[in-house]
């Protein structure tokens, strides 16, 4: 199938990237993949279920603090710490989702934001665990017991991130194409009708929020050992807003789009910030341009164009 061939091609190119790119580009690319995972996790909620979270940084920051704390204070290896942090984010999200899904629309969004701000505030109070305003620093990448030392090098870590992103993408893709995914689409288009048809819509929403937070937490859990630190900025509303922009610019409801959106955001930020202090203003204008003129986002528009000639040919 064309989709599989495209996926294999992209993964092959990304896998060969360390051979050709200078180290600082590899650092940027690694961060872009981590952010891509983060944005893709949000797409499950925003693009597929129309549950707009204004506080998705909660997942990212929580995952980052979790894996950072585990790597500093326990003997857990890098993969185990990352895995535990992702699961913890998902479990936490069940509680969050249980509360937030009591309301819909803007109040849902506000509750997710409130929850992220709550975590943000906690980092300044529970300083013995979070390191207060300094955050957690000097987070090591500890090799595992199975000789997984390769994962801790710069290139090895890149492959670790790439592997997890591909696995998460495949997981999400089969989810959105499953019967469960069909129900999510129903909730997106008409929740009241979906409920009337006999679906317990709240249970579906809680499940998708939990998975979304778990994958967002996984991204954060990767960021902490990538950067070597975790601080309260990872829970701040600014990041929640930025990841929402990545999803919309890349193309909500496409999974691939948000990954592209994250990469685009990363590189645009990198390029713009080397020219001007006020790069955020230019990025804001770029965002407005997309909302007005490319509402389907980068990948949404590309995919629509790819699909049309293919449909005619058949």
């Amino acid at each position: 199938m064309g989709a599989w061939r495209g996926l294999i091609l992209v993964v092959a190119v990304l896998a060969l990237a360390p051979l050709g790119l200078p180290p600082y580009m590899m650092t940027l690319l690694t961060e872009a993949l981590i952010l891509g995972l983060f944005a893709m996790s949000l797409d499950l909620m925003v693009g597929y279920t129309r549950l707009v979270s204004f506080g998705h940084a909660a997942a990212y920051g929580f995952g980052a603090y979790c894996s950072g704390w585990l790597l500093i204070n326990t003997d857990l290896s890098l993969p185990s710490a990352v895995f535990v942090a992702a699961i913890a984010s998902g479990v936490l999200a069940i509680g969050v989702a249980w509360v937030c899904t009591r309301s819909t629309g803007v109040s849902f969004s506000m509750l997710t934001l409130a929850f992220a701000q709550l975590l943000y505030a906690i980092t300044f109070r529970w300083t013995s665990v979070t390191g207060g305003s300094d955050g957690l620093a000097g987070i090591p990448r500890r090799p595992g017991p199975f000789g997984l030392t390769a994962l801790t090098s710069k290139t090895g870590f890149y492959f670790f991130v790439l592997g997890l992103l591909v696995a998460a993408f495949l997981l999400c893709r089969q989810l959105v194409n499953s019967p469960f995914g069909a129900v999510l689409r129903g909730i997106r288009e008409n929740e009241a009708k979906t409920l009337a048809l006999g679906y317990n819509t709240r249970a579906y929403k809680i499940a998708v929020v939990a998975l979304s937070y778990a994958l967002g937490g996984l991204a954060g859990a990767l960021y902490a050992p990538f950067a070597g630190f975790a601080n309260s900025e990872l829970l701040f509303w600014l990041l929640s807003g930025q990841v929402l922009i990545m999803v919309i610019v890349g193309g909500a409801g496409t999974l691939i789009g948000p990954i592209l959106g994250a990469a685009f955001f990363m590189f645009a930020q990198h390029q713009l910030s080397s020219y001007t202090e006020s790069w955020a203003i230019y990025f804001g204008m770029l965002f407005i341009f997309f909302v007005l003129f490319v509402p389907r986002g980068i990948w949404g528009s590309v995919a629509a164009r790819l699909r049309r000639p293919a449909a005619d040919g058949r």
Partner: protein, 253 residues
């Protein structure tokens, strides 16, 4: 024994009694119309039956089991499907996807988070059968939002039917249709209901539609039942005639 039994069903909204001590039965194979002017409490009665609203008093029994206290989703799982007075569809999905999602709701594996080829296959077969019965096969691949209003009303019925219910609640299925569309819809519904395997409650404004489809009629007035019987009995009822000033006589035959 009746499939659906409502006993002393009452619902208050503040000081307003929207449904007042309604008792009625519907048996399998029977089409019962519920009629009454705007605001008589017909839609509220549906909301009480399928669990959208809790009753202030009284209860609903379905096949001997009490429905009161169940959620709409749970009521639907037991075999009660309904259509809405205001068309409610998934506008960006195709007509077939709409019906298929409706059918999937009664599948034991409706929530399967991976694969699901068999689930989709079963749902699609039921969807296609329902679309066929409503004469919508030729628009199956069109987005539901692009259908004519008349076809959208029929799709509502097809979606309910794709769930293979035992009790079908139809809330004004011909609302907003032109005269020709109504005629067509009535013909389609008549063949549909002739099968006899369904119990149907039909809320309708159009008296002609009611007299052509219903075996029994319940007349609501300000939430209360003022008449209950065959179409002939109801037409002859002096209380009904007083309440409706001979509207029914005009519509008869």
């Amino acid at each position: 024994m009746a499939l659906l039994e409502c006993e002393g069903l009452t619902r208050r909204f503040g000081g307003l009694v929207a449904v007042s001590s309604v008792t009625m039965q519907v048996a399998t194979g029977e089409v019962r119309a519920v009629i009454g002017p705007n605001g008589a409490g017909k839609s509220t009665l549906f909301n009480l039956i399928n669990g959208v609203l809790p009753p202030s008093a009284g209860l609903v029994r379905f096949d001997g089991e009490q429905l009161t206290g169940l959620t709409p989703a749970q009521v639907c799982q037991r075999g009660v499907s309904r259509t809405f007075q205001l068309t409610a569809l998934f506008p960006e999905m195709t007509v077939r996807e709409n019906a298929s999602l409706a059918a999937q709701a009664r599948d034991a594996q409706r929530w399967l988070p991976f694969g699901g080829g068999a689930v989709f296959h079963r749902a699609r077969a039921k969807a296609d059968a329902a679309l066929e019965r409503l004469g919508l096969s030729h628009v199956a691949d069109r987005p539901a939002g692009l259908l004519s209003h008349g076809d959208q009303r029929l799709l509502e019925v097809a979606m309910a039917l794709a769930q293979e219910p035992r009790l079908l609640l139809l809330d004004e299925p011909t609302q907003g249709l032109s005269v020709e569309e109504t005629q067509q819809a009535v013909e389609t519904l008549k063949t549909l209901l002739a099968g006899g395997e369904l119990a149907v409650v039909l809320v309708e404004h159009d008296m002609e539609v009611v007299f052509r489809l219903a075996h029994k009629i319940t007349v609501l007035h300000r939430g209360a039942v003022i008449a209950d019987g065959t179409p002939e009995e109801v037409k002859a009822d002096p209380g009904v005639q007083a309440a409706y000033l001979g509207d029914f006589a005009d519509a008869a035959d």
